[in-house]
C-alpha cells in the first residue's frame, strides 16, 4: 500500500516519525509530499498530529492512497489495504468459541479479531 501525504510544516516531524513507527518506509519525498510504503492498516487520530479539526479534515482529503482505501470517522483517519486474498482457517469448536467470546467482548466479529491479531503477531515478529 502506498500513501502520499502532503508536506505541511505543522505536522512535518510527527508524520514521518508516526509512519516509521507503524512499519512504513519513506520511499520518496519532494517539495510537496512524502510517499510512504507499508503493509499494515493504519489508524491516525487527529490528536496525535496536534492540529485542529478543520485542518485535519482538509489533510485527510489531500492524502492519497494506492492499493487501499481511506476512511475518516470524526477525528480519526483509517487507512485500510485492499483485501482481495482469502485465507481459509479451520478451527475446532473450542477454538471458535474462545475466538467468538473475545471478539464479542471487544465488539468485533471473529474474523476481524483473527485478522487484527494475526497482523499484530506478524508485525511483532518483524519487530515493528
Amino acid at each position: 500500500m502506498i500513501i502520499v501525504v502532503p508536506k505541511k510544516q505543522e505536522i512535518k516531524g510527527v508524520i514521518v516519525k508516526g509512519f516509521k513507527e507503524a512499519g512504513y518506509s519513506l520511499v520518496a519525498e519532494n517539495d510537496r509530499s512524502y510517499t510512504f510504503k507499508g503493509i499494515f492498516s493504519l489508524k491516525i487520530p487527529s490528536a496525535t498530529l496536534g492540529i485542529g479539526y478543520r485542518e485535519f479534515v482538509s489533510l485527510c482529503k489531500e492524502i492519497a492512497v494506492e492499493g487501499g482505501l481511506k476512511r475518516r470517522r470524526n477525528g480519526v483517519l483509517y487507512v485500510i489495504p485492499e483485501r482481495k486474498r482469502r485465507l481459509v482457517v479451520r478451527l475446532s469448536n473450542d477454538e471458535y468459541e474462545t475466538l467468538s467470546k473475545v471478539a464479542e467482548s471487544r465488539g468485533l466479529k471473529p474474523h476481524t479479531l483473527f485478522r487484527e491479531t494475526l497482523m499484530l503477531a506478524l508485525s511483532e515478529r518483524r519487530g515493528v
Binding site: 492499493g67 479451520r90 475446532s92 473450542d94 474474523h111 506478524l122
Partner: protein, 180 residues
Amino acid sequence: MPYLVKTPKDERVNSVFSHAFKKVGEGEKYFVYEGRIDVEFPQAMFGLSGDEFRKLCRSIRVEGGFKKRIEDGVRIAPLRKKVLTVRLSEDEYRLLVEDAREVGLEPSRWARNLVMSLVEQYLALELKKKAMQEIREVCGGCKYWTGEGCGNPTIPKLYLREVYSGRRKECQYKVERGVM
C-alpha cells in the same frame, strides 16, 4: 469439546502422554486421556523401536480428533470443522507466507497457531480482570485488602478460595477501613 485418546496400558506411553494430556480414565488394558490442542510426539520420546512405535500408533484410538503419522513421530489434534474465512491484502498474505515458510508450516496452520495463542492470553486476562472486579466488590473497603489480595493471615485458605472464586458474595472477616 475436548478429544479423547485411548492408548494401550504401557508405562512408557503413559510417561509421555501424561505430560501433554489429562488422564481421565483407565481400564484393564488401556488408559484414556483428554486433550484440547495439537500435540506432536517424536518417536524418540517413547524409547520404542520402529516396529513397536508403528504398532503403538496403530493401536491409538482418538475420539473427536485424529492421529497422523508425521516424519519422525505422531501428531494428535482435535477435529476442526469450523471454517473461518479471513480477507487479507496481497502484502499481508505474502508476509504470512514468508513467516510460515521460516517455521516450516502451512500459512493457515501458522496463522491459527499465532492467533490462538494470543487469543487464549486475551481471554485469560479478561477472565482475571472480571474475577478481580468481583473480588473488589466483596473486599473493597476492607482494611486487609492490599489491592492484589487479602492480607489477613487468620482467614482459612479454603474460605479465601471461595471468596476469590466468586462463590461467596460476602466475607464475614471483613473489617471496614477506619474501624478499630
